[in-house]
């Protein structure tokens, strides 16, 4: 077992990137991702990490540099948040279509306006359809572990896709947690050297990024979608291998006291741990409630999610983002569509809360539970619409 220390999660994530023997790091500072980048710069300048640290002049260039480096065969890492993600948006879509392995930590943060440096999932939802593999981590240990996972999945020849790790900004990035580092041999056995499918090199010239006429474009998109869908096999294998290597197990969807639940909370990201405490409290009061946490966001784990929901008749979906003018928060919208075809379609109460990092405590989730049950009592299906929780005036 590697050393176990209390360390800020951002620094731990950077340490994981270092242990993964990254080749190129190109990142632009943005709160709350800065500590990750700063620590990597320190590791490079102290000679502890042999990598090219490229201090780019914008996030758009950060991901463009990563594209070039990955195309040339290097192991590549970047990180950003909110506005930075928005600025590199064009390239986000391009690198997945070009099947370039890149690992990115997204320190989740509100999208402007107004400017907010604090945590929510609006940036996550803005690139929902970008074609990357996307996973949520809920605590510092998961962040460390998933850096290894991300490189392995991204670079696996059957996948060859960029991978994004969603980590709640400030709430995870800036807290000190106990993290068990991996040992060098564990990293070596889990994460092989990168062997690119194609690399820019004169010995084997290839052209990457050719343009697509209408007569071929649709086929390239179908191919890209299939690649993302089929990456699930490697994702599951990578988690299984992780359990073998370090003894911690992860799954696309994880449940807590969910099997016999009548009502289920559904969360993504760090809310999960808080909700689990609310579940315990409510259970102690006799409520048949549980929690299902979505870890794998793309490719969406349809089977696992439906199985986790099981026979539960009522879902309380917690969204940390808004879909303006849409039918609720983005997660609720997705899940409704996942469950639409189910014979036993559960009812759904959707709460949007925690925007810009506003604290949502155990008490609040308990209150949401009671509010949801009250709405479920009403037979009016419109009572199932979404609600903002904790917004003054609402």
């Amino acid at each position: 077992m590697g050393k176990r220390i209390g360390i800020e999660v951002s620094l731990a994530a950077a340490e994981a990137v270092k242990m993964a023997d990254v080749d190129c790091i190109a990142a632009y500072p943005i709160t709350p991702q800065t500590h990750i980048v700063e620590h990597l710069a320190e590791l490079v300048n102290d000679g502890v990490l042999d990598a090219e640290f490229i201090p780019v002049e914008s996030e758009h260039s950060a991901l463009s540099v990563c594209a070039g480096s990955s195309a040339a065969g290097a192991r590549v890492f970047t990180c950003t948040s909110s506005q930075g993600l928005a600025l590199m948006n064009e390239i986000v879509h391009i690198v997945s279509a070009m099947r370039l392995p890149i690992v990115m930590i997204l320190a989740n943060r509100s999208l402007s306006a107004p400017l907010s440096i604090w945590n929510d999932h609006t940036d996550v939802m803005s690139i929902r359809d970008c074609g990357w593999v996307q996973v949520f981590v809920n605590n510092g240990q998961e962040a460390f572990d998933h850096v290894m996972f991300a490189f392995r999945v991204a670079e696996s020849p059957q996948v060859s896709l960029p991978v994004m790790i969603h980590m709640d900004g400030f709430i995870l990035t800036h807290v000190i947690e106990p993290i068990t580092y991996w040992e060098e041999e564990q990293v070596r056995s889990y994460l092989p050297d990168r062997v690119p499918l194609f690399a820019l090199h004169p010995d084997r010239p290839v052209s990457m990024g050719a343009f697509g006429m209408p007569s071929i474009f649709a086929e390239t998109k179908a191919a890209q979608d299939e690649a993302l869908i089929h990456s699930k096999a490697e994702i599951l294998a990578a988690w299984a291998a992780m359990e073998q290597t370090v003894g911690r197990s992860y799954a696309p969807v994880e449940g807590y006291r969910h099997e016999d639940a009548e009502t289920l909370f559904i969360t993504q990201g760090s809310f999960g741990e808080t909700v689990s405490l609310a579940v315990d409290r409510l259970r102690a009061q006799g409520a048949a409630v549980g929690l299902v946490m979505d870890r794998l966001w793309r490719p969406f784990p349809f089977e696992e999610f439906r199985r986790a929901v099981g026979a539960a008749r009522r879902l309380i979906v917690i969204d940390r983002a808004v879909s303006f003018g849409g039918q609720g928060g983005p997660l609720a919208i997705e899940l409704r569509s996942v469950l639409y075809a189910s014979e036993a379609r559960p009812r759904m109460a959707n709460f949007i809360c925690g925007l810009a990092g506003r604290d949502v405590a155990v008490d609040d989730f308990e209150a949401m539970y009671r509010r949801a049950q009250a709405k479920f009592q009403q037979q009016d299906p419109d009572a199932e619409d979404f609600e903002y929780y904790g917004v003054r005036g609402k």
Binding site: S160, M208, G209, E219, T220
Partner: protein
């Protein structure tokens, strides 16, 4: 050389990962010669084999034949007219396509 499948033939499974093109220069199969309405004709008595036409052809369509004269490859020649214009001895003139 086996003719590459055109974009109209490829199924999604046949497209290389990420749309990568692995056969360098395979676009050389494309016959740009069908574009032209005139082609260059060389007067070999005037040609001094200097290679000016060769260097100025944007399509690399001029090559040195076995006798050392520079002639246009009509598979590619777009008939732009640069070579007669630049030829220092006036050895080239353009002739209209008859078809």
């Amino acid at each position: 050389m086996e003719r590459a499948k055109t974009k109209e033939d490829l199924t999604w499974q046949e497209i290389e990962v990420g749309g990568v093109v692995t056969r360098p220069g395979n676009a050389a199969e494309y016959e740009t010669g069908t574009w032209r309405s005139a082609h260059p004709v060389v007067d070999f008595d005037r040609c001094v084999k200097c290679g000016v036409c060769y260097i100025f052809c944007p399509d690399a369509a001029i090559y040195e034949n076995a006798a050392g004269y520079f002639v246009a490859d009509l598979y590619y020649c777009k008939g732009c007219g640069i070579c007669p214009h630049e030829c220092p001895t006036g050895a080239i003139h353009m002739e209209e396509e008859t078809e």
